[in-house]
Subunit: 397 residues, 2 copies
C-alpha cells in the first residue's frame, strides 16, 4: 500500500497517510520526502514576527519539518496575510490525544498570526477507504462521526470569527471546480506512485487525493475569500499527510495557483510504545477526549510502555530510558512548563523518579486538560456547530 521509497525508510518502517509503523527516523524522513528541517533560526523568526514565545511543539521539535514556511513568513512580514488549512478524517466517535496535536498547534498559529482557518472533515475519504461492509458502516455514519468530531475540534478553542469548518459531503459543491482541475492534472500512474494505489482499488479512493488537495487553494472558498483572490496557504499536519500536499504542490503551477506551505509534526505514539502512531481502532492504545479521570489513570498505569528498569534496585542504579518511556514522551507533548519537564527528565533518567511516579505526573497533567476540553465540548451546541460550518466572508487583512 505504501510508496516504495517511504516503506524502505528502514526495516519495518512505513509512513503513509493510512499507516505508520516502526520507529521512524525523522531526519531520514526529511531527506526522503525532500522537506526542510524546522531550524531554531526559523522558530526564533516566528517568535519575532508574532511577538510571543513559540509554542512548545516548536521549541521541542514536535513540529520538526516544513515546506516553504520561510516564504509564508516573508509574505507575512511584507504585510500579506495567509490562511491555515488542516483537517480530520472522522473515524471514531471521540478524538484521541494524537488527533489533538495538529488542532492544538493550529489554534496557536491562528492566535499568534491572527489568520483565518479552514478545517476539512473528510467523511467521504473515511467511507471510501473503509474496510468495513458498506451496509453496516454506510456513508451517513461517517457524516455523523464528522459532526461529532467537529464538536471536539471546536472545543479546542478556535476563533469562531476566523474559522470555517466543513465536511466534504456537504461542501463539495464549492470545492468541485478545483477538484476537477486537479483531477485532470493527475494520472492514475501518479497516484499509484505517490499513494501505492492498486488496480483493484475503488475509483473513489483513486480520485480522492484531489479532494484533500483542493482546500489548499483559496479559490476553493469563494464564499470566504472571493473567487479570484490568491491567498497563500499554510498547512499544519502530521508528516504522514505530506504525500497529499507534495501532489498538491506539483499541480499548483499548472493550475496557475500558489503552492501551499507546510509545517509537519512527528507522530503521537500509542500507549504501548514509541513506534507507529496512536490509533483509534485499538481503544487500549489510545486515550480519548471522552475518557474519564479514572479511565485516564487506568490506561496510563496499565498500558503506557515504561522505560523503567525491571526492578526498583536496577532503576535506582541505572535510571529510566526517557526515549522509550511513554509517560515521558506524552509529557513532552502536553506539559507546557519547560523547567518542570526538565526536572522530571533528570529525575527519571537518573533513577530518582520511578516509573509509577512519572506515570502519576502524566495522569496529573492529562486529567485537568481533558476535563477542561470535555467541559468545553459539552458547551458546544448545534447552533455553535452550524455557525462554524456556515460559509461566510473572512477578513484576510
Amino acid at each position: 500500500m505504501a510508496e516504495a521509497s517511504v516503506e524502505d525508510n528502514f526495516n519495518g518502517v512505513a509512513v503513509t497517510p493510512w499507516q505508520v509503523t516502526g520507529a521512524v527516523d525523522y531526519d531520514k524522513l526529511i531527506a526522503e520526502f525532500g522537506t526542510a528541517p524546522l531550524t531554531p533560526a526559523l522558530v526564533e523568526r516566528v517568535e519575532r514576527l508574532t511577538g510571543r514565545k513559540a509554542h512548545h511543539f516548536l521549541r521541542r521539535g514536535i513540529f520538526f519539518s516544513h515546506r516553504d514556511l520561510d516564504q509564508i513568513l516573508n509574505a507575512y512580514e511584507a504585510g500579506e496575510r495567509f490562511y491555515l488549512y488542516t483537517g480530520r478524517g472522522p473515524s471514531s466517535e471521540a478524538l484521541h490525544l494524537g488527533h489533538l496535536i495538529p488542532f492544538i498547534f493550529t489554534k496557536y498559529l491562528q492566535d499568534a498570526f491572527k489568520v483565518p482557518l479552514v478545517i476539512q472533515l473528510t467523511d467521504d475519504e473515511k467511507f471510501l477507504f473503509s474496510k468495513h461492509d458498506a451496509t453496516l458502516h454506510p456513508l451517513d455514519a461517517y457524516i455523523q462521526l464528522g459532526r461529532e468530531n467537529a464538536k471536539d475540534i471546536i472545543a479546542c478553542g478556535f476563533d469562531a470569527e476566523k474559522t470555517f469548518l466543513f465536511a466534504d459531503s456537504n461542501y463539495i459543491g464549492s470545492l468541485y471546480p478545483n477538484v476537477v482541475r486537479i483531477q485532470r492534472a493527475v494520472s492514475f500512474n501518479q497516484v499509484r506512485g505517490i499513494f501505492g494505489f492498486q488496480l483493484s482499488d475503488n475509483i473513489g479512493k483513486i480520485a480522492f487525493p484531489a479532494v484533500q488537495a483542493a482546500p489548499a487553494f483559496s479559490s476553493s472558498f469563494p464564499h470566504l475569500f472571493g473567487g479570484d483572490a490568491q491567498v497563500p496557504c499554510l498547512i499544519p499536519c502530521a508528516v504522514d499527510q505530506d504525500p497529499y500536499f507534495r501532489m498538491t504542490r506539483d499541480v499548483a503551477p499548472r493550475l496557475g495557483y500558489r503552492k501551499p506551505a507546510l509545517i509537519h509534526s512527528k507522530f503521537f505514539p500509542p500507549l504501548q510504545g514509541a513506534e507507529g502512531k496512536m490509533s483509534a481502532s485499538d481503544p487500549n492504545s489510545a486515550i480519548f477526549l471522552s475518557d474519564s479521570p479514572a479511565q485516564i489513570r487506568k490506561k496510563v498505569n496499565k498500558y503506557a510502555f515504561s522505560g523503567g528498569r525491571d526492578t526498583v534496585e536496577e532503576h535506582r542504579l541505572y535510571g529510566g530510558d526517557c526515549s522509550r518511556d511513554i509517560a515521558y514522551q506524552y509529557l513532552t507533548f502536553f506539559m507546557e512548563d519547560d523547567e518542570r519537564l526538565e526536572e522530571i527528565r533528570q529525575a527519571y533518567a537518573s533513577g530518582r523518579m520511578l516509573s509509577g511516579e512519572i506515570k502519576a505526573e502524566l495522569v496529573q497533567c492529562l486529567q485537568p486538560m481533558l476535563a477542561e476540553l470535555q467541559a468545553k465540548r459539552q458547551a458546544v451546541t448545534e447552533s455553535d456547530l452550524n455557525r462554524f460550518m456556515q460559509p461566510r466572508p473572512m477578513s484576510i487583512s
Copy 2:
C-alpha cells in the same frame, strides 16, 4: 480506448461513449451488450398505455433496444410513476441534429407519460476528457457551453413544471453522497474493463462514471423527490452510453437501489455517410441548430452522401440506394409523415426521384424545423434557464 468485445463488433467498428466508427450492426450490438430488442409488441403496449400513436422513432426502429422497459411499463400500468433521465456533454456552442434525437424522443416520453425529467449537463466530463490544453480550454469554458446548450435543450419544448436541468459543476453537492457510494462499489479494474481506461489516464476520467451513474437513482435528487423515495428511472439515450448504465445497473442492488431502465437509439449518421455518428468537431459533417436556411441547403447539397447512381441514366435505370443515402436517412429521423416518407422511398429507390430532388425534400423538411427551434431558442431567457435549473419539488403522481 474501447472495451475489447465492443471494438471487435466487427472490423473497424467501435462503439464507446467517446467514439463510434464503422457501420454498426445493431442486432449484433444487442447480442453483445446483452440488451433486449424493442419489439413491435412493446411499441404497441406503449401506445395502449399512453393512449397515443407511438413516436416515429419507435415506429421506425430508431429507438431499437432497451433494458427493463417492460418493467417500467408494468409499474406504470400498476399506477406507479417513474422519472426520465437524459443528458448532454457540452462540447460545441450549438447542438447539432444528432444531439437532438434523445431530446426530441424524451420530450415525447414526457408528454405521453406525463412524468418528471432530469437532464444532466456533464461539463466536468467534457473538461476531464478534453484533449485540448487546459489553459486554452478551461473548465469555465465548458460550464459556459453547458449554459448555451441548455437553451437549445429548453427550445425542444420541455415542460417547465416537470423538467429539472442541472450542470454537474453546479449540482454535484446533491449528487455527491450517491457518487461516493457508487465510486466505492467500482474498482479501477472494472472501469478499465468497461471503458478501456489506461493507467496514464487522469484520475478524474477514472472516477467520472459514478457522476453519470448517480442521477439514475432518485435519492440523488432530494429536492425533487425527497431523499427516501425510490422512484423508478427510465433513461433514453444513444446506445453508446449503455456502458455507463450497465455499470450503474451492476452496482444498484449493492446500494439497495432499483436498477434504471434504458431505451437506446441508433446513431445519427454524419453528412458524409452512414457510418459512425455525427460529430460537432467537423462543422462540415454536421448541421447545427444555429445554421441558417442557406447553410442547411448548402451543407445538404454539397456534403450529404448520395445513394444515387453516377449518371442520371443509370439512376433512372437502377434507382437510388436508400440504405446509404444520407438525405433519405435523415428524412427517416425528421419527416413525421409516414405515407410521404414511403412515397419518397419508392420514388427514390425506383429511380423516379433524383439525388438532387431527395436532397431538396430534406432541405424543405429541415429548414422550417430548425427555424422554429431557433425562434424558440431566441425566446429562452436567462430567467427561463434559471427556472429550469432551480431544484424544486416535483410531483410524481
